[in-house]
């Protein structure tokens, strides 16, 4: 009988908390969106599955050795940990109360030395880091995974349309307005007392408006790792929603005449220009914003590999095999941040709402900028390509093309929209660099 009880106490059903159950459902929902609705499946499948894994009771896949020991260890070990952490445990209270007390101390943050000693105790009695926790440490906490993805994106990007019409860079700049308005929104909500975001957290939320998954993961891993799960989920789900969010805004801000504007054919761009461009961009980063160097440096490196034409094999690996491997690990690591006690908070709703606003404002600003440029320049510019300034390559450019075709079936805007689209990637990386410089 006693053995049976032990088995029962070790089972998932006995230990499942309400929060974990809800988070497993959230993970299932993400899987449904990815598989059933084709929302960014490449990322949402690993993220959703990682989220489910992270919430398996007792398994502690997403916990560090110390957290795990606190979660499941015997009272004797808890006593040992309490000694190290300098907590006095109430002898009369239950083991559960002890665990809560220890958890509180670890989360409040004590000195790094003490935490290290406590960790040694936990490892000493046989607890290890969970698998997802290790993934997270290696891939995201170190910043490596988003950067390798950025290199792959660089290797997939063709700067031709941008080089043929460099002024579209302004559209990519204007669309970054969404980032900063959202930051202001998050700060405003705090001022009004609705939410409680610090400036760092607000900045990390704002980056969702950059519509660039790796950039937002990179920034939030530096500025607000505690919000990373919600931010990554918001930014990838909204990227998938670009075809739904953007068209109404685009139609509201432009007239039929403007949507019909036919743009002049892009000039051909020579190979030399394409090779020199990433180097020129890199030099500007070196001179003006070294804080954006990790992101833009890897991006330029990937692009140079693509364009120089002598390292086919490396470029091929960067844009296929490597980016796929890293995507799997990145997705699972993000999933590890979908733990109930961190994700099921009122703040998450705020982040989802703000992310949506960020997208909408970025789109609107890009279009308004394009209208302005059309008014002042000799060359006609169709305002629809402005919305592609929120990166989300190549989805946003396709949306511009589609809305343009609805207005005029012979007007192909795709190549024209690719210019602002890749400009948006550069723009959001620059904005990320500024934020890291200012707050990091």
């Amino acid at each position: 009988m006693e053995k049976l009880l032990t088995l029962w106490h070790g089972s998932g059903i006995y230990n499942l908390t309400l929060g974990q159950a809800v988070m497993i459902l959230v993970g299932m929902l993400l899987l449904y969106l990815a598989i059933g609705k084709k929302f960014e499946p490449l990322l949402l499948v690993p993220i959703g599955f990682g989220g489910i894994l992270a919430n398996i009771p007792e398994a502690g896949l997403a916990l560090s050795a110390l957290d795990q020991a606190i979660e499941v260890a015997k009272p004797a070990v808890l006593q040992q940990l309490a000694d190290v952490l300098g907590v006095t445990l109430d002898a009369g209270a239950s083991a559960e109360a002890w665990r809560e007390a220890l958890k509180g101390v670890v989360q409040e943050g004590t000195s790094a030395d003490v935490l290290r000693t406590a960790r040694d105790v936990a490892v000493g009695v046989g607890y290890g880091d969970g698998m997802l926790y290790s993934f997270y440490t290696v891939a995201i906490a170190s910043g490596i995974a988003p950067l390798i993805i950025f290199m792959g994106v660089g290797a997939m990007t063709d700067f031709g349309p941008l080089l043929a019409n460099p002024r579209t860079l302004f559209l990519g700049a204007a669309a970054q307005f969404g980032i900063f308005v959202t930051l202001l929104g998050a700060v405003g909500m705090t001022t009004l007392g609705w939410m409680d975001f610090s400036l760092n957290q607000a900045a990390a939320i704002g980056i969702i408006g950059g519509a660039d998954g790796p950039t937002s993961i990179y920034v939030s891993s530096i500025l607000a790792p505690e919000l990373l799960g919600a931010i990554a989920v918001a930014s990838y789900s909204y990227m998938a929603l670009v075809p739904l969010i953007q068209p109404p805004i685009m139609k509201a801000l432009t007239g039929q005449k403007e949507r019909e504007i036919v743009m002049t054919q892009l000039r051909p761009v020579s190979k030399r220009e394409k090779i020199v461009f990433p180097l020129a961009l890199l030099i500007l980063v070196v001179l003006f914003l070294p804080d954006a160097a990790p992101l833009l440096g890897m991006f330029c490196f990937g692009n140079l590999m693509r364009e120089c034409g002598v390292v086919e094999r490396l470029s091929d690996t960067a844009q296929n095999a490597l980016i796929n491997i890293v995507t799997i690990i990145l997705g699972l690591s993000v999933g590890s941040k979908l733990m109930a006690d961190r994700f099921l908070a009122f703040e998450t709703l705020g982040i989802l709402a703000l992310g949506m606003v960020a997208f909408a404002i970025g789109t609107a600003c890009g279009i308004l900028m394009a209208k302005l440029m059309n008014a002042v320049s000799r060359m006609p510019i169709n305002p629809l390509i402005g919305s592609a300034g929120v990166s989300a390559v190549p989805m946003a450019a396709r949306v511009s093309n589609k809305v343009g075709l609805e207005a005029n079936p012979h007007n192909f805007l795709l190549m024209h929209a690719m210019g602002p689209n890749v400009a948006g990637v550069i723009g959001s990386a620059v904005a990320a660099g500024v934020m890291i410089k200012y707050l990091g």
Partner: protein, 82 residues
């Protein structure tokens, strides 16, 4: 009061960030334009050799074929996307 401080910081970060993004991308526009001109001026692309007559005749047919394929694909894509 501390909240007002936060709001102020947010505003200054916004002004600084937006300003910097524009300055940086403006510089990039200038550098790119200069770079393109420089390359066009001093390292012009070698003139493409005149296409051989055989290639010239087969081109249009091929283009028609691919146009048909593209049109069909676009049509199907749009249908699926409603």
């Amino acid at each position: 009061m501390q909240d007002m401080q936060l709001l102020k910081e947010g505003l200054s970060l916004m002004a600084l960030g937006m300003g910097f993004v524009f300055v940086f991308l403006t510089l990039l526009v200038i550098v790119t334009t200069l770079m393109s001109r420089f390359i066009a001026r001093f390292f012009p692309e070698p003139v493409a050799p005149a296409p051989s007559p055989g290639a010239a005749t087969s081109r249009p047919a091929q283009d028609n074929d691919s146009m048909v394929a593209i049109a069909a694909a676009v049509h199907r894509y749009r249908r699926r996307r409603r």
